[in-house]
């Protein structure tokens, strides 16, 4: 069963992510895909995550497919202009990559090439709109015809916790209007605050037009916790979560992080309109079975 079918069937979807290697081999992706294959519906292949140059997302997506795991190809607006982005969608679709996740992307300042030219020719709303027009209207931004059109399931991201609070659900609304069919959110550490955002999302009726997957991360070390709190743009770690993880011995931080993630998943699954979870565990894929087990989430393999 594909991610799209899982969501359409009303089942609880689980996605995770794999960050491609900094090297000319898909081996690490194949290994990680084997770890995740029986636990998730699909896996995001990040696009030069954190503005660090890595193996291309489309190549990583092909490797995941070869390993029997459905990919979600991430596509940021940071490094490519409208010509390259449209071209990449055609290539990805031609090679069988169906799920495409569109995002603005981190600024180059945060990565290993801070001196690079930030492209941002399109923003995420414009890119979604463009890709949808290619698929549904069979046209490029230039107005020229696309034949045959790409077949894709379009995703977006949203950060429910970043200011302006009054605009975050509306912003998702713009993405849905532009073409987003599913959304994966930024890390949720505070299920209650997420619930408030979901109430706004429901008021706008967005949960009926777009599948919402809540982002859940597993903190694997105290160092990672500090990094996440202080260095990752847009991530907010509430004080009680911080204290809880700080309160255990360093060697048990990973186990406590996994427990916290499992509890968060249970809380999120109970919120009306949440269609699944997205596990933000790049580099920590081995934690996935434990977290899902702890949360009591079993991806039904029947029909696959």
């Amino acid at each position: 069963m594909s991610l799209r079918e899982r969501l359409a069937s009303g089942g609880f979807a689980v996605t995770a992510e794999i960050s491609p290697p900094r090297g000319a081999s898909t081996g690490p992706i194949t290994e990680k895909a084997a770890l995740l294959r029986d636990w998730v519906d699909a896996v995001n292949i990040t696009d030069n995550q954190g503005s660090n140059a890595r193996l291309a997302s489309w190549a990583g997506s092909l490797a995941a497919m070869a390993a029997g795991l459905e990919p979600v190809m991430q596509m940021t607006c940071r490094d490519r202009n409208r010509i390259a982005l449209q071209s990449d969608l055609l290539g990805a679709s031609a090679l069988g990559i169906r799920n495409v996740l569109v995002m603005t992307g981190d600024h180059p300042k945060f990565g290993d090439h801070p001196e690079a030219k930030p492209v941002f020719d399109l923003d995420s709303v414009q890119l979604l709109w463009t890709l949808r027009a290619m698929r549904d209207d069979h046209v490029l931004l230039s107005g020229r015809t696309v034949d045959p059109p790409p077949d894709c399931f379009l995703g977006a991201v949203e950060n429910p916790f970043a200011p302006p609070a009054g605009f975050r659900a509306e912003r998702l609304g713009k993405k849905v209007a532009a073409g987003a069919q599913f959304v994966q959110t930024q890390f949720v550490f505070d299920a209650q605050a997420f619930g408030q955002w979901m109430a706004q999302v429901r008021d706008l009726g967005l949960h009926e037009r777009c599948y919402i997957l809540a982002g859940v991360g597993a903190v694997r070390s105290l160092r990672a916790l500090d990094f996440m709190r202080d260095k990752v743009p847009g991530v907010q770690v509430p004080d009680d979560v911080y204290r809880r993880l700080r309160g255990v011995p360093a060697d048990q931080a990973a186990a406590e992080g996994a427990r916290l993630a499992a509890e968060t998943i249970q809380q999120l699954a109970a919120i009306d309109g949440v269609a699944g979870v997205h596990l933000l565990v790049a580099g920590n894929e081995q934690a996935v079975p434990g977290i899902l087990d702890g949360a009591g989430v079993r991806v039904d393999r029947d029909g696959r």
Partner: protein, 181 residues
């Protein structure tokens, strides 16, 4: 055309006053006629564009993209966003409303939202902005506005149907205006 990287700028003109000034600048026959005359003369056009550049740079940190979004962004320039986002803030805005790239500065979209909301114009931020035309950097956006060349810059986000495509490509735009598909 532009060499200055985008940096969030805080407008020096109050939101209320900005909307009031906007009302006097709306396209009308007189302004259409005047702008056509200005465009017809190269020195007049250069002079006018230079004056616009100076005024909008001082007031809004304008970078002269030539396709102004200010009337629907609470008069906060989105081209000051380091990612030049035209459709709202990225996910990296700090909890205090700061820009992720320039933490000492305020996110232009946080500012835009507050200013628009303060004048009852928060709904403006729902508009879907089409990709900009990079050939138009350095042009006068006032002349473009009065000449009606800005009409396709954004569309109402009315849902899954009812709004046209994402392209501002002139051929498409003409076709649309003429009622084609």
């Amino acid at each position: 055309m532009t060499t200055r990287p985008p940096v969030p700028a805080r407008p020096r003109l109050g939101a209320r006053l900005a909307y009031r000034v906007q009302r006097t600048l709306r396209p009308r026959i007189s302004l259409r006629w005047l702008s056509a005359r200005i465009e017809a003369s190269r020195p007049a056009r250069a002079l006018f564009t230079g004056a616009e550049r100076q005024a909008k740079q001082d007031l809004f940190g304008c970078r002269m993209c030539g396709q102004c979004a200010l009337p629907v962004t609470g008069y906060v320039c989105p081209m000051g966003c380091p990612k030049e986002l035209r459709n709202g803030p990225c996910g990296g805005v700090g909890a205090d409303g700061s820009c992720e790239v320039y933490p000492a500065l305020r996110c232009v979209w946080v500012e835009a939202y507050e200013r628009a909301a303060s004048q009852g114009r928060a709904a403006d931020l729902r508009l879907l902005h089409r990709p900009i035309d990079h050939r138009r950097w350095g042009e006068s956006s006032w002349l473009n506005y009065w000449q009606g060349r800005d009409e396709g810059l954004w569309a109402a986000a009315v849902g899954d149907t009812g709004h046209e495509g994402p392209s501002t490509n002139s051929t498409n735009h003409r076709r649309r205006v003429l009622g084609g598909s």
